[in-house]
Symmetry: C2
Subunit: 368 residues, 2 copies
């Protein structure tokens, strides 16, 4: 193999596909990036058990070939090369020779024979959204997934296509995040549960521009994201996702309107008194035009009053402050509405168009 | 105690004195900041076994008093307060009540009776340099100290005052850094060996402005740095420091002139092939108008050629690349001179005015 490209092209390409390299694995080939030069195209690929990333490198094939190279050392080397044209060659012993200006590296490679290529799927089912929208909906829901593998469906994010509507949801048993998006066209009904890890890495690769689009292609087992020069393949999580419509009713007795930014800062201050791993709730007391937030732990106590416009009865209720902060940070609006009923019923946050809905279960606390 | 100040003033003050809080200690009072409101002045102080920091807080004493409070929780709370006036009060149970806007914290404090105040020393011996200069000379030498406590003198930095000259030096048995500074006045001869930890923390507090000055006051056991609203006290390391003038002779057989920036980048590339903890040298081959750098490890091999103007014989010599990089980063000049003799003699770098001198011992390597 012999290829030619700019330092920037190879650095960008390697940093994209490296996102599919597992941080820990005993499978040597999973630690590798595969460079494939064929038919005038150069692709870099990395693949783990769950998802794989392929990127089309801007460069020139001088001699066709395939090589696997340790991703970590390869990435560190290309990043540090001087600016300029990079020549990458292999010899019959799978050595990789990288030349840039007067700098020359000779690194051990592997044949790449045991590498599992990304599966291809038919482009029957696909829809298109902007990079901006995909990045946003991932970041606005993914914090609600569970990291506990006991219920594998909770480790994924639901993408539910229904006509020209896309509903994206994540839940962990204590809270739910839902985002509703309008699609440009209508599609037949489908529920995809996409692993959180895959979406997390995709959100980091996406440039997030409004003008650039992502094709999302899927069948029952797989989903593929195509954007710019990159293809991400992921297996889907199998099983029937939770029925969101039966899970809660959007009913309430109190509606409270307040400023989002001071509310976040107040909850953040309260968390200063919680030691890591401690499940201490913040307690919110809603009275007329006032929200009093308070917390008391071994480290000290804190209370603070916030302006809040309330309709409905007074309420005293406790929440995990991290759940409040993460949901509040995922909302863009300056003013938000809280919908509540009683100390054992969930807190809802939704906007008037139901573009977002966040549900957080309260924590019982001993107030007497 | 009852004091009043701005959020910015208390945050700045706490972040300065917190630098004297040890990261690990079993002595509770060493984890605390002491607030002392007396005679219209408010001081914050923290003190560990080696050094202490005192800062004069911009604020108003409403009621005199003294309190000790856990530095970590206090710093996190004041940082997160809303912008505005902060009121800090104590009660008879040593509780600290912090009020800012509608936010109120109640934190446990301590009497502060067991706190060891910073010693005062007579201002007989003192000299003044700019914050800029002090910060520079610390950063340009401190990386050469030893972290090994076996030879405690090597864990400090020498400040040698002699007439209107200040020589600052650090060494670890493998390398030496020396900086020479001209003082505005003449002072009697004195050698101070200041603990590296103290200087490290001072360099982080100093704003580094040319117009702002630092008074350095000393006797045989102590040194005090006074700048702006801050006083840092440190014990000195006792013992006779190494005689630098007898340690090496600035003789050489080769003089090599090259560009500093490409030289650093080349050595940085070579280090990519060294696993952490491995003591592999980079090998430099000096021939006419060329420096070839090479390295070969289990991870791969690398070689690179740099333009270099040489006078004197050819030379093949090996060095710890980290020592090269750290010295090269501490130099400002675009062009630098290397002075060498043979594979067992040190490498010197100095400028024509001897403002800086760096000495690095070579590493033996098997070249055959």
């Amino acid at each position: 193999m012999k290829i030619n490209c700019s330092k920037k092209a190879i650095t960008d390409s390697v940093s994209i596909v490296s996102r599919a390299i597992p941080s820990r694995t005993n499978v040597t080939i999973m630690q590798c990036i595969i460079i494939n030069a064929k038919d005038g195209n150069i692709t870099l690929t990395a693949n783990n058990n769950e998802f794989g990333i392929k990127n089309l490198l801007k460069g020139e094939v001088k001699e066709e070939g395939l090589i696997a190279i340790d991703a970590k050392i390869f990435e560190s080397v290309v990043r540090r090369l001087p600016e300029g044209e990079v020549l990458i060659e292999t010899d019959s012993n799978f050595r990789v020779i990288i030349t840039c200006q007067s700098s020359k590296f000779n690194l051990p490679g592997r044949s790449g024979d045991d590498f599992v290529a990304l599966p291809e799927i038919e482009k029957e089912n696909e829809f298109t959204i902007s990079q901006y929208t995909l990045k946003e909906i991932i970041l606005q829901t993914i914090f609600c997934i569970s990291t506990n593998e006991n219920n594998v469906l909770m480790t994924g994010v639901l993408f539910e296509i229904n006509g020209d509507k896309l509903r994206v949801a994540a839940l962990d048993g204590h809270r739910i995040a839902i985002r509703n998006i309008e699609l440009r066209q209508s599609y037949s009904e489908k529920k995809l549960v996409i692993p959180g890890n895959t979406l997390n890495e995709i959100s980091r690769i996406l440039s997030g521009e409004v003008e650039k689009s992502v094709n999302i292609i899927y069948n029952d087992q797989n989903v593929i994201f195509e954007f710019e020069r990159t293809v991400v393949h992921s297996r889907l999580i199998q099983g029937e996702y939770f029925n969101l419509d039966q899970m809660f009713r959007m009913e309430y007795e109190l509606k409270v309107t307040l400023k989002r930014r001071p509310f976040i800062e107040c909850v953040e201050r309260a968390t200063l008194l919680i030691k890591e791993g401690d499940r201490k709730p913040v307690i919110m007391s809603f009275t007329d035009d006032n929200l009093e937030m308070r917390i008391s732990t071994a480290l000290g106590s804190m209370n603070e009053n916030l302006e809040a416009t309330k309709t409905g009865p007074d309420l005293l209720i406790g929440f995990n402050p991290r759940f409040l902060i993460e949901a509040l940070r995922a909302i863009d609006d300056d003013d938000i509405n809280l919908y509540l009923s009683n100390p054992r019923s969930p807190l809802f946050m939704w906007d008037e168009n139901y573009k977002y809905t966040y549900v957080i279960l309260p924590i019982n606390f001993n107030n007497r």
